[in-house]
Structures are given as C-alpha cells and as structure tokens.
Symmetry: C2
Subunit: 466 residues, 2 copies
Amino acid sequence: MQNNSDLNELLNPRSIAVIGATNTPGRVGRIIFEQLLRFKGPVYPVNIRENEILGRKSYEHVEVLPETVDLAVIAIKAESAVRVANDCARKGIPKLIIVAGGFSESGEKGRALEDWLVSITQNSNTRILGPNTLGLFLPHNQLDTIFVDHGDKALAGGGGVAFISQSGSVGTEALGLASNTGFGLRSFVGLGNKCDLDELDFLSWFGQDPETTCLAFYIESLSQGRKFLEKARQTSLIKPVVVLKAGRSEAGADAVSSHTGRLAGSDRVVGGAFRQYGVQRVFDDEELCDAAKTLSGLPPAQGNRVAILTPAGGYGVMGADHVEMTRGGIRLEMARLSNETQEQIYKTSFSFASCRNPVDLTASANDRMIGDALSTIIDDDGVDIVICTAFFSPPSITDGLVESIASRVRDSQKPVIVFTQYGPFTDSYLRQFHREGIVGFPSIGRAVRAARFLVERAGILQSIRA
Amino acid sequence: MQNNSDLNELLNPRSIAVIGATNTPGRVGRIIFEQLLRFKGPVYPVNIRENEILGRKSYEHVEVLPETVDLAVIAIKAESAVRVANDCARKGIPKLIIVAGGFSESGEKGRALEDWLVSITQNSNTRILGPNTLGLFLPHNQLDTIFVDHGDKALAGGGGVAFISQSGSVGTEALGLASNTGFGLRSFVGLGNKCDLDELDFLSWFGQDPETTCLAFYIESLSQGRKFLEKARQTSLIKPVVVLKAGRSEAGADAVSSHTGRLAGSDRVVGGAFRQYGVQRVFDDEELCDAAKTLSGLPPAQGNRVAILTPAGGYGVMGADHVEMTRGGIRLEMARLSNETQEQIYKTSFSFASCRNPVDLTASANDRMIGDALSTIIDDDGVDIVICTAFFSPPSITDGLVESIASRVRDSQKPVIVFTQYGPFTDSYLRQFHREGIVGFPSIGRAVRAARFLVERAGILQSIRA
C-alpha cells in the first residue's frame, strides 16, 4: 500500500468517467451521473448498452473515451466492477471510486474479488477508493458521488470540516445534519472497505489542505495504526483531529470483525494512544458531528470558565448543572462575573435581572438587551467561554436577535456558543445562526459539551507542544 | 395550601373566560382567545375597552359574565391580574390561570403581589395555576392556552404522557418535539411560580387519570417534598413517574434560588429519596422527553438482554458499544441469539448476513427481510428488548419498511425500539413510526438509552412492590 499519494486527481479531478451511468431512473449509476452534470469539468458516461445518457454521448468502454480521465466512478456490480477497474488501470486512469458492495464484507467470494482489486493497485499506479463506499462530496468543487439523497446541499458549503467515514450510514448523518441545521463541510469521504486508500491518506491530504480547519473520522479499524497516530500528532499541532473509534466494547469489537473482517484493537490501547498523539476522541456519531462543528468554527478556550446568558431561567439552571458535571475528564467551572460586569448588565436590562452567572434576563428581555449583556460578558476577563441562549418565545424578542447576537460574536476573540430552541422552528434558527458563522446547538447539554471540546482542544495543544 | 383538589374545572372545564382577550394581533390575550375558539364549550372574552372580539361579544368585567365560568385565564399584567383574580374569587370562579410574569421571580414588589395571590386562594375556594405560567395544553379537549407557537398540534394528540413543567422553556421543548417527530401528550401543564397549585396536585390528578400512562416532571424545587414522594410511590405502582430535578450542582442550585426564590434541596438527598420512592430520575430535558416517550409506549423489560437488527454495520457496532457501557447504574447486555434464530435469519435473508448479535443484514436487505428477521428475533427467548434500525438508503428498502416493521411490532409482547435516521427525512420517518404507535429515536445512542429506561422501570416496580 502506498502512502502520501497525491489525491488531487480524486478530490480535484479535471475530468470524470461514470461507468454504469444509465438513463434508468432510480439506479445508482443514473443518480451519480446526474449529480455530476453540475461538475465544472468534462464528465463522460460509459455504458455498453446506451448511445446517449441524459443528452450526452455514451461510451462503450473506458478504452474509447476521448481522454484519459483523472477519475472513474465505477457504479456497477462487484464482479463487473473488478474487470472494469482492471481496464481503467491499463488505460492509466489514476483514481477509481468503486461503489458496489459484495466484497470482503460479504464472505469468501467477495473477499477473493477484493484481493483482485488489491492486486490491481499493486501492479499499477491506479489508486482505489472503496469498494463498498458512499463516495465523495466536496461542495466547493460540485463533486458529489453520494447516491443517497442528502437534502439541501447549499447548506453544506463554505465550511472547513473534512469528514471521513468508514461507514456509509454514519456518513449520511453528517450530510443530513448539513441540510437540516447547517454544517460546514470541506469534504465528505466514504472510505468503504479501504482496499487501497485509507484514513491515513486522507489525514495526510486534508491535514495539508489550508481550507480544512478540522478533520473528523468515523473508524472501525485502523489500517496502519502507528503511522496514522504519528501523522495525527503532526496534524493536531495545526488543526483538530477528532476520531470516533467504534467497536470499543467486546460485542462491538466482535461486530467490527463481522462487518469489516478486521480486528478492532483493544479499546484501552486505543484510548491511551489517542491521548498521547493528540487525537481528540469522541464516543458516538452525534458527538463526532458536534465536535467537528465546534472545533472547525471556534478557537481553543483560554481557560475553563463558562458564563451562561439566558432569558429563560430553566436553561440557566440546567446549563449550570451541565457545566459542573465532570465529563470525559474535562472540568468546566461557572465563571464568577466581576461586580462591574454585573452592574453593567443591570444598567442595560432590568433591576430584577439575575446578574450572577447564569445571567437570567427573564422573559421580559429584548433583542438589544441580550446583545448588550453578551458584549459585557465577553469583555469580562474572568470568562473564557460564553454560552448564549437564543430563545424566541419571549414577547419582546424578535428574529432580529440573530443579528443582535451575531454582531457581538463577530468582534469576539472568545468562543461564543449559541443554544437555541423553539419547537418546530429550532432547525430554522440553527440554519440562520450557521449562515452568520455562529456555532449553535439545539440542546443546552450539547452546548455545554461543545465548551468542553474547546477546553479539551486547548489541553491537547498544550500537551503535544510540550 | 389545599391538596387533592378536584382539578376537573381546570383540566376539563365546561366554560372559560379569557381576561385580557383582545383584537390586537400578536398580543398574548389575542393568541390565547383565538386558540380557545376551538374549545367545545362557551368561551367569553373579557375586556373593558372592546365591544366585540373576533366576532364574539366582549364583557367589561367578570361580574357581568352570563354564567360563573369554571376557568378564567387571566392574560393581563401582574398588578391588574391580582385585582382581577380577587374579583374572580369573589364571583366564585373556581379555577384561574395567571399568565403574567413580574411576581416572585422578579424582586420585592413582585413578591408582594404574589403574596396577595396566595391570600386570595387562602380566603376563597378559588385555585390558581401560576402566575408566570405557559398554561395548559390538553389535545383531547382542544384546551390550549399556550401563547407560543408550537407547531402542528395534531401530532401531539392520542398519547398518554402528562408533562408537567416548572419551566415554560423546557415545556416548549416537549411541545416542539410533539410537532417535529410525534410525541403523544395527554396533557401539558406549565406550573409557573406555583403560588397555589403545584406538582403534587397534578401528580395526584394524572396519577388517577386512566388515560395517562406516564407522568413526566421538570422541577426546580419541590414544594411539598415528602407528600410528593409518597404520592409518587403509590402512582409508580401503576404507571411510571419520571422526574428531572434541575439545580443539582452548587451553581445550579444558586440559580434555582435566583430563578424561583426557593431552595433547590441537596442533590444527594434528592437522589436517594427518588430511588426509595420509585421515582425514575433523568438528568436533562432531552432525556426527560425520551423517557416519557419510551415509558408511555412500551412495557417494562423482562430482562436486560438486547438484540440489535440493522442493515448498516456501523450502527450495529456503535449500538453494541452503547449496550455494553454501564450508564446510570443500569446494566444492559447483548443477547446471545440461539442457533435456531441464526439459521432462520440466514434462511430468510442472505448467506453473507451476519446473524450473531448485532444482526447485520447488510445494505442488500429489503423490507421483507428486515421484517422477517425482526419476527425471528422477537421470538427468541434469549432476547428481552429489540432495537431495530430502520434505514431507508439501501437500494431495496422502500417506505414499505415502516409497515413491514409495524406489523411485527403490533403482535409483539416484547418491547421493540426503532432507530431511524436518513438525513433530512429523519423527522418525517419518525412521525410515520409514531403514527403506527412505534417508539422511535433518531440516534442509536438514544435508542439504547430507551432500552435502559425499560430495564430501570422493571427494577423500580420490583423494588417498590417488595
């Protein structure tokens, strides 16, 4: 297996062939080809049984394509896919994505087919992503081979998260999040069976990509454990590397072995190694997405003192409870606001506001008061992280609250995390905050957990720089 | 303070007056009155400045109403509200809801106003809900005084959860859930400042209500701790009582004191007492809603052995990890499927399916195979709880999967929990399962946590019956 390969032809190809492209609606080859029509470079359909696909000339074989494309997406069944992969390698096509399942994850025969793929990569310069992969989605390139519907793709753009997943289903969660509430993706990569390209290749690539601000991995088995860890440490000096390593428990590890045919590795060893090499560890898919969103959008915390601002007392109380629970070894504490801060908040809100931390402006608050109190709290030297509750039900609060908060957050060097929730409108408000570049969550527990990620990141930087 | 009052006039009134009803759009009095136009009995607007409100004759004072209503909703500012409450008590109106804030939660003057309300209840037979309350929502009665928009109310009906919240904002979460993903409410009650009616009154009432299958409380301070616990134990013999007691940490308790003017009570004492009295304790608002949904819809588990069925390997792995983590002292284990079960699953699916637990039918599965495997797993005597992953991205899986699963679950005595997720369509699938009476969650972690609730409930029943 080669390393440090140039993935440019895969992630930023000049031209693409789609093998198995078809006019038949609902087929994977049709979905992928149709999506790639938005791609800026040439995209050639290859299908021996059709002359024209969605208005474009179809080619019988890769041999007769007008150019040697950078990337071929092979969307046909396992056995044929292997034969075509061989043709592509002979033709000198440098990068292949093999979509089909039915390889090492599905028994003896599939394993033999996958061995064949491995031998193709060993005997050529062709590199393979997959098989059994959901493929790629790079919003900035309009490069999308994901054959399941993942909603409003516009909401996934403009972000810095490279999300790399060994599981297609976990991948769809991040993509779904993107369209539900906004999630700034630089790239989604489905690793599939990793017959060739694996997490190390993408760690290397996105680690060096200046537009990538955070790497998030869902991994069941590490193909090259030590090299991955060493590269992770280098990368972590520059940007966060978050990993969900599934298969922790005995039963989970058994399941990994059934699912991937590989050993999961002892969980305790993995935990220790991650700490040593500056990998930020998370424990489920929601946490992975939340950590990526937080760490790609906010700086590490300068300390662990959290202030909470709210117009709804109940969430101040629960927020304080969450802050004072120690989770994952990361201790937060409730900041002590200075007398000046408290006075200033009184002055700009009400005499009956509760100006200790949590700061409860009560349901009489309006957009301006929340913005003013937020500024005041940000300016308090005793505060490292601010959690601002954006609640839209109090009568004097309007949709203008989004801008009132955003204008203060834009000027802040300190991390500010928004918690917003308003029944059926929650996702819509989360999208509005996302568009303003603000990191928001729909539960106070998740907002406090996000603060923990920032404190943990600061600790990791300190320990790997030492 | 009186107890065991008859709350029929509040929760099932024959007639209602809305004081402060108005034609002015956006005002609380308008929103409440407009909503109550759907109420089946007479609803009278009271407003000294208007002759007609939304086409109905308006009354100047409660004194001139054509009848003594069962319930008056008072939607005017604090000081006037107290005066009107006094008028209502003199007129003999038995139940009042006082919406306004500006009472004990907001300083000296407010506290004096609230003391006045207390004296009204002490010198009359009138009972007060609030002040500072979001009010009531009883879908079966079309009785809705909630003045914040909470989406599609149709989705909240038909359920058995009595959700009683001291915090309005936490309340809106449950109501939002209802419209986002389906949540079967019997009743929502906002307690507000609890100047009179408190959690004990509603525990007594809904404990005896045959249509209520689960009680869920968000509480910051227990007004009558011992009586509440004793009533909870009686109730818990018949139906689950779930309580989120906020203000656990020191800072949280401080915040409760600012927010409500009451002491939160030592957290350790609360924890021990809850265990002793059969109260099922949860720790945040998401958990409260999830527990209520689970416990109102599914029987206690007969044991702690969980089987997981999935067409997506990654979630099988993470699910097994979640099962084998001990959380909140509740131990689950992965069930060992019998050889007959495994053979039967092979027979009805694929030779390459992984038929140990987690059962991974792979992305080649179809609706029928998942249904068949689900039946087979339900019938295995070594399984106490089944978690079924409903994934809609595999090519042979259609929307028919909902019915394929539902038809098997309907006949099952064993609890089956569905985990479903499909990016932007997740909520829609959750609603479909909800309509079929199936308990579903959008994360595998929450599905496993739901299994824990059922095991915990079984343990509580055992211990309080002993």
